[in-house]
């Protein structure tokens, strides 16, 4: 029975329609492994080969990959949650109750989204400290470090804008405190706060702005900067592994 399953898989793979979609075919040779990366629009952001030493756990603790993993979980759960959430006052709070008690798997998705968000903030800080302590910010990787700082700020902003969306006491007052801190910026503070909230108080306008920031603007920014971040890793010579042979290469 196992053999017929294999035969079935092979038949599918040799099928004309399949081959028109997946043109490189499969195989164990280095050529096939190269094509798998190089011919894929998403994967060809990565280099075909990687230095073996960079794959050790002790090198990076995989913190960058883990941060990206939490980001993916957040995007998926976030989009699903958006289907039951109306960013209006006070409907937003009613929708939170809806998700907890009425919607199938609603409580699970909400929990997963919340805990992944905390995990992502923690992991992005851990990633930054790990990169610093192993000196992976030095030439030629300075600019990628700055991209990383930008991503740190985007992550914190994503978390902060998402925090308001449940429209409960915790959310409302956390954002009130935060917006008052923003108004403390000299000269422009009040203006910044006004633009941030879409008004002078934390109300329906603020909720809508934070919703658009959280679901559209900031995720787009994050995806763009993540792409540049990955690209720069490759162009700066791959993951830093504490040696000198990793200076910029043409990989």
């Amino acid at each position: 029975m196992a053999n017929t399953l294999d035969q079935l898989v092979d038949q599918v793979r040799e099928n004309r329609i399949w081959r028109s979609i997946f043109r490189s075919g499969t195989g164990e040779s280095n050529l096939h492994k190269s094509l798998f990366v190089q011919q894929n629009v998403f994967l060809h952001l990565f280099s075909i080969k990687a230095r073996k030493r960079t794959l050790e756990f002790s090198a990076t603790w995989y913190l960058g990959a883990l941060t990206f993993g939490t980001f993916m979980i957040l995007v998926i759960t976030g989009v699903l949650l958006m289907l039951y959430y109306h960013p209006s006052v006070p409907q937003a709070y009613a929708d939170m109750k809806d998700l907890q008690y009425v919607v199938s798997s609603g409580v699970f998705l909400r929990n997963l989204h919340r805990w992944s968000a905390h995990a992502m903030v923690f992991l992005v800080f851990a990633h930054m400290f790990k990169v610093f302590y192993r000196g992976a910010y030095r030439t030629p990787r300075e600019f990628n470090w700055i991209i990383g700082v930008v991503l740190l700020l985007v992550t914190l902003l994503l978390s902060y804008t998402g925090y308001l969306l449940p429209w409960d006491q915790l959310a409302f007052w956390a954002v009130t405190v935060g917006s008052n801190i923003a108004s403390a910026v000299p000269l422009m503070g009040a203006k910044i706060r006004f633009l941030m909230l879409g008004g002078t108080a934390v109300n329906a306008n603020a909720l809508l702005r934070f919703y658009v920031l959280h679901c559209v603007i900031l995720p787009l920014a994050a995806i763009l900067f993540i792409a540049v971040h990955f690209w720069r890793i490759r162009k700066d010579g791959g993951i830093y592994a504490g040696d000198h042979s990793s200076e910029g290469s043409n990989q």
Binding site: E28, S29, N30, L31, L80, Y84, V102, V103, S104, S105
Partner: protein, 164 residues
Amino acid sequence: MPEDVKPKPSPDSPEEMSRRQFFVKLGVGSVAVAALGTAAFSYEYLSPNVLYEPSPVVDAGKPDRYAPDSVTLDPQTAIYVVRTGEGFFALSAICTHLGCLTAYKPDLGIIACPCHGSKFNKDGVKIEGPAPRPLPWLRMWLSDEGNLMVDRANAIAIRQLVRV
């Protein structure tokens, strides 16, 4: 020289499988099970359990409101309450062609749809036009308070009249 990491070809006897093949099958099987589970739960998540829409059951009021031999349209709930000599029945006012709201023409004694010209008689039977089916009869009953109740979600096949 390609780095061949192909597993050793499986021997002829079907019971033997290399350790790698076993784990590959185990992995693929687990992923398949997880995918099926995810699909099932996703379907459940995406279909709402509670709808925030008006109830299909309509309270059409007391039977005396309706004149004998009349056809009364309620545009908000899209039903006709029809009173004949023998009793009451309810028709859906939504044209079976493409969903427009029909209207009763008292001078002609027919129900007409403004969109594509379908015409129905007072029993809902189609006279002319592109509508594929007659206007459905809706389940009607008398409530405990003596009100006519119509359930828009339940059509009845047999012509039943509510006699008052």
